[in-house]
């Protein structure tokens, strides 16, 4: 067993990252969320000696301390040699400073002009109950974009004035988050420009195709299906009066909406598509709201608008179905001599009077014979509504992908894994050492380059005895795993999966609950950031 003296010490070797490389150590995986620049206070770990937060902080500032210590001793000859190089560096530095100042001014100007009115539009209340941004995805997308720009502006203000002795880890996290958003927005605008051009060029053809599609599938097909249900579908004899009432109502509803679409909307459809194309291409100039995300949101809203009649018919059918189902269940309990106790939320036995039983029987018979008709019409509209929901879900998922995809962190993980640390580890390096020395004496290690320096760290000593190779531990950065990069995504995915889970949808269908697409507030950008703050 090892005997170590309590006063013994040992040396830990580590790579001293220069401050400009933005590499740093971390005990745990960092929070790559929106509010990374707020220094989240870590809990006080046990007061043990060893590697804790303070040690890691000291490791991260090591190169700054090194530069501060070595600076007074730099000789003038070194300065002379690098003088010519430094003038070129100086000019590029001034150019970059001027460009960044210009960008910052543009961003702050657009921010002040557009953000306040845009946010107030998004947050207006319709009918004093619903927020406008909950009703329309385009408005929500506008809100998201405005918020992203506000965060960018804040981060840019913080990033521009980097102090010499600043904390590398905070700067690096801000840097990653800032450039991730910038890259996503630029991607968005670029793809949006291409898509917008496509829309603008082909707006006539697209309008014609869309009109045919809406006519055939959204107007004529439901009417044909309803007529089919009215006339003994597949040999089933549905209740004639109820069935004709249902089909008459729904066919009239669809007709009304079809008329609205044909006479009011369709004449302007090609112009609308042209405007969508313009927004997609050039919307970025108006406060940065444009691009592919905005066009996806606009098409989503158009889809919701065109299928409004199916939604209304579905609501009517589902209300009737749910009431019929509940009535049947209650009367079935009556047959068994039981009653639903609302106080205790359970089924109790209960003695019914004879006339209650008789009346219940009559009502049960009525409902039981009317139920297949209700079920048939509900099934039609439930299936239509399900396909609508799935289309909306796929559009929303696409939007979520485009809005916050951790592209920068992913590429950084591939290019320079030490800049996204998720812990650290010790690698064991062979070193030749004196046979009688108890510790390894090595010269100053300024491994400012890659980790190949550790392989080159073989020191030669004058050896009177045979040199012995031993393994010493060297601390290195552990890059964060891919799952951790996508942790916001796993949260988003779990929310989407729990909402659109097939079993949950099936249960809602069978019980007659209203099917709704996922509310937009659950998959918001900053909501995800708030989740990450809690975790």
């Amino acid at each position: 067993m090892m005997h170590r003296e309590a006063t013994g010490y040992n040396i830990v070797y580590y790579h001293r990252h220069p401050a400009s490389s933005l590499r740093f150590y971390s005990i745990d995986a960092p929070n790559l969320g929106v509010d990374a620049f707020n220094d989240v206070a870590t809990p006080m770990s046990r007061q043990r000696s060893g590697i804790n937060q303070d040690v890691v902080k000291q490791l991260n500032v090591a190169s700054i301390i090194n530069a501060a210590v070595l600076k007074p001793s730099s000789t003038s000859s070194v300065l002379n040699v690098t003088h010519s190089g430094s003038t070129i560096n100086h000019t590029t530095k001034t150019i970059t400073i001027q460009m960044s100042t210009l960008l910052f001014k543009a961003l702050s100007m657009s921010q002040s002009t557009f953000s306040r009115p845009a946010q107030s539009i998004c947050n207006t209340h319709v009918l004093s109950k619903f927020l406008l941004k909950d009703m329309s995805l385009s408005v929500q997308q506008m809100d998201v974009r405005v918020e992203q720009l506000a965060i960018l502006w804040r981060q840019m203000a913080a990033l521009r004035f980097r102090k010499e002795g600043g904390r590398v880890e905070i700067y690096s996290k801000e840097y990653t988050s800032f450039f991730n958003t910038v890259w996503l927005i630029l991607n968005d605008i670029t793809i949006g420009y291409a898509f917008g051009n496509f829309l603008c060029e082909n707006h006539e053809v697209l309008a014609t195709i869309l009109k045919e599609f809406v006519e055939d599938i959204l107007i004529l097909w439901p009417q044909r299906a309803l007529c089919w249900l009215d006339s003994w579908p597949a040999g089933l004899k549905l209740n004639t009066e109820l069935s004709s009432f249902y089909s008459g109502t729904f066919v009239d509803l669809v007709n009304v909406w079809g008329g609205v679409l044909r006479h009011i909307i369709f004449p302007y459809l090609s112009n609308t598509i042209y405007i969508f194309g313009l927004v997609s291409s050039f919307g970025a100039l108006i406060g940065g709201m444009g691009g592919m995300t905005m066009s996806i949101a606009l098409f989503y809203d158009m889809f919701v608008f065109f299928t409004l009649h199916i939604y209304v018919c579905y609501v009517i059918a589902v209300v009737a179905f749910e009431k019929a189902l509940w009535g049947l269940g209650s009367l079935w309990r009556l047959f068994r001599g039981k009653r639903f106790n609302v106080l205790r939320n359970r089924t109790d036995s209960w003695e019914y009077d004879t006339d209650q039983l008789l009346f219940g029987t009559i009502l049960f018979t009525l409902l039981a014979f009317l139920f297949p008709t209700v079920l048939a019409y509900y099934a039609l509209f439930a299936l239509l509504r399900l396909s609508m929901i799935l289309t909306q879900a796929s559009l929303e998922i696409q939007l979520a992908f485009m809005n916050h995809f951790p592209l920068f962190a992913l590429v950084l993980r591939l290019k320079d894994p030490w800049r996204v640390p998720g812990g650290m580890y010790f690698d064991f390096v062979e070193v030749i050492v004196h046979a009688d020395a108890n510790e390894v004496a090595s010269g100053g290690e300024d491994e400012s380059n890659s980790n190949e320096a550790s392989r080159r760290s073989r020191r030669q000593f004058e050896y009177t005895k045979d040199p012995v190779t031993t393994l010493i531990p060297v601390m290195k950065n552990q890059p964060v795993t891919f799952q951790r990069i996508f942790f916001q995504y796993t949260r988003l995915w779990s929310q989407l999966a729990s909402h659109y889970h097939p079993f949950r949808l099936l249960k809602s269908l069978l019980l007659g609950r209203l099917l709704v697409p996922i509310p937009g507030s659950e998959i918001r950008y900053d909501k995800i950031g708030n989740h990450s703050k809690e975790s």
Binding site: R4, N10, R46, S49, I51, N52, L471, Q478
Partner: protein, 194 residues
């Protein structure tokens, strides 16, 4: 600095003690449990049976139409085959660095080459305790050694030692005893006034 095999019934377990660290290594083979003494290997180096697969692939590739679904299927099968051959667990180890922490390593690759090393380091300041617990693995109940660490905001995280091999109890007991000594030593050291 020499590797010892302290357990006779489990020769796949070895301990390496140096000045700077102790390594407890479990390799991916074991003796047959019926006492016959034969070695059961869970990894297989490249043998002639594995060479049949490239033969089959190279014969079937030109026969299939270019760009068809079958070619994509063959490609996927090749990638899957290479991936399974090259990520076999060779050995796993728990490395104790006195006064710094515990590092759990998994070496994977094509035996005898090591291609991928996965490491997790738990410093002593985060390590709460080391525990042996029972768990259900498919239709079996196995003991596993786990290091409890403090996660963010006071929650507890688990790091399982030897997660792929899950050796049997005598090995875990040996590692557990040594780890407890270090943890106790660390606690006693830290409780002394500086």
């Amino acid at each position: 600095m020499q590797r010892v095999h302290p357990l006779q019934t489990n020769p796949e377990f070895s301990i390496l003690r140096t000045d700077y660290f102790h390594e407890y290594r479990v390799e991916n083979w074991h003796l047959a449990r019926d006492g016959s003494g034969s070695v059961i290997r869970h990894t297989s180096p490249w043998s002639w049976k594995h060479s049949i697969i490239p033969l089959i692939i190279s014969i079937s590739w030109p026969k299939v139409r270019a760009g068809s679904f079958a070619r994509a299927l063959i490609l996927l099968t090749t990638i899957f085959f290479v991936w399974t051959r090259c990520t076999q667990v060779i050995h796993e180890s728990v490395i104790v660095l006195p006064e710094h922490g515990i590092q759990l390593e998994t070496h994977k690759g094509l035996p005898p080459l090591t291609l991928f090393i996965t490491r997790r380091f738990v410093p002593y300041t985060i390590l709460r305790d080391v525990v042996i617990n029972e768990g259900i693995k498919r239709w079996d109940i196995r003991y596993y050694l786990v290091a409890l660490k403090e996660g963010a905001t006071g929650s507890v995280g688990l790091e399982v030692c030897f997660p792929n091999i899950l050796p049997h109890f005598p090995i875990l007991l040996q590692v557990y005893r040594d780890l407890r000594e270090f943890v106790a030593l660390q606690m006693s050291l830290s409780s002394q006034p500086p």
